[in-house]
Symmetry: C2
Subunit: 141 residues, 2 copies
């Protein structure tokens, strides 16, 4: 990647590939999803179906919103609900052949964007950190 | 800012100034801090003392870690603990006179960095989004 300049670099060069991405499944109970998020330390992760196709993302904020009762957090609700009921499905998706600039545009409003092919098979995620590190290197050279 | 190029731009030009930044106080109970985080939607915010000096940051992950019991989340703990017991104090800080490049370096590993003066009076936060938007504009011109 070092020798490529910004117009030649693709999302595949910068993304974290799927095997290294923490994720949850459509049918997981919220309790399991929250544990994955807390243990991994990530605020939000992709949601995949049983065929490892991308279906959405889920984060701590939306889970906590669900359990925010009037007087106290209603933690019991977590075992009654599933990821698919509250995950976010209107998410930007890029392909690994997209350009660096397309990646930069995609992450202006999102800490990460999912990378998938035309059939929605999950390839990985592109993070702001990856883009920023690359921009910094570009500025120093 | 539009007319300045990257070597002239300072952190003050890009930061979100303090009056627009959601924050919590040192002595707030964790229950209050978690509510501020969930209601504002932010994953982490600055912590200030009674004089509005910067003392640290606090986020959902570290609060949720505290209440993660063996069998279930121990939500009662939240009213017993205070922000100052678990906030993060080893945080990067920049000054509003620092340069764009110093800001870019600071946010490589942090979604936001706090801006404060020599006496730690809180001036605002510099976010990755602000840096990325500016880099994108720079690339298009
Ligand atoms: N275990 C860790 N070690 C070192 N630094 C850590 C870290 N966890 C978080 N960070 C730092 O905090 C930033 C925000 O993480 P967050 O979990 O909110 O937001 C993350 C998370 O939602 C997601 N993400 C990143 N890596 C992931 C992975 N391997 N699996 C699943 N989701 C991931 O992409 C977002 C943006 O990530 P990005 O790297 O730009 O930015 C990360 C990174 O700079
Ligand atoms: N209400 C909202 N409206 C529109 N977009 C929203 C939003 N809340 C979050 N986002 C988007 O999600 C990104 C990550 O937010 P997060 O809360 O994890 O992480 C945030 C949060 O921890 C902190 N932050 C941002 N603005 C803040 C504010 N006004 N007060 C306190 N903390 C703030 O700085 C981090 C990075 O912010 P950044 O803007 O780079 O990146 C934000 C932004 O692109």
């Amino acid at each position: 990647i070092q020798d490529k300049n910004l117009t030649d670099i693709t999302i595949e060069d910068l993304m974290i590939s799927s095997e290294k991405v923490a994720h949850v499944q459509l049918n997981n109970p919220l309790e399991h999803a929250l544990l994955v998020l807390v243990k991994s330390g990530y605020s939000a992760v992709p949601v995949l179906d049983a065929q490892y196709k991308l279906v959405g993302t889920i984060g701590k904020t939306v889970i906590l919103n669900q359990i925010l009762g009037l007087e106290r957090f209603e933690i019991e609700k977590l075992s009654d609900m599933q990821v698919k009921q509250i995950m976010r499905t209107d998410i930007p998706v890029v392909s690994k052949e997209n350009t660096f600039m397309e990646g930069l545009n995609a992450i202006i409003d999102y800490p990460f964007v999912c990378v998938a092919d035309a059939d929605m098979y999950f390839d990985g995620i592109l993070t702001r950190r990856a883009i920023l590190k690359h921009l910094r290197r570009d500025y120093y050279s």
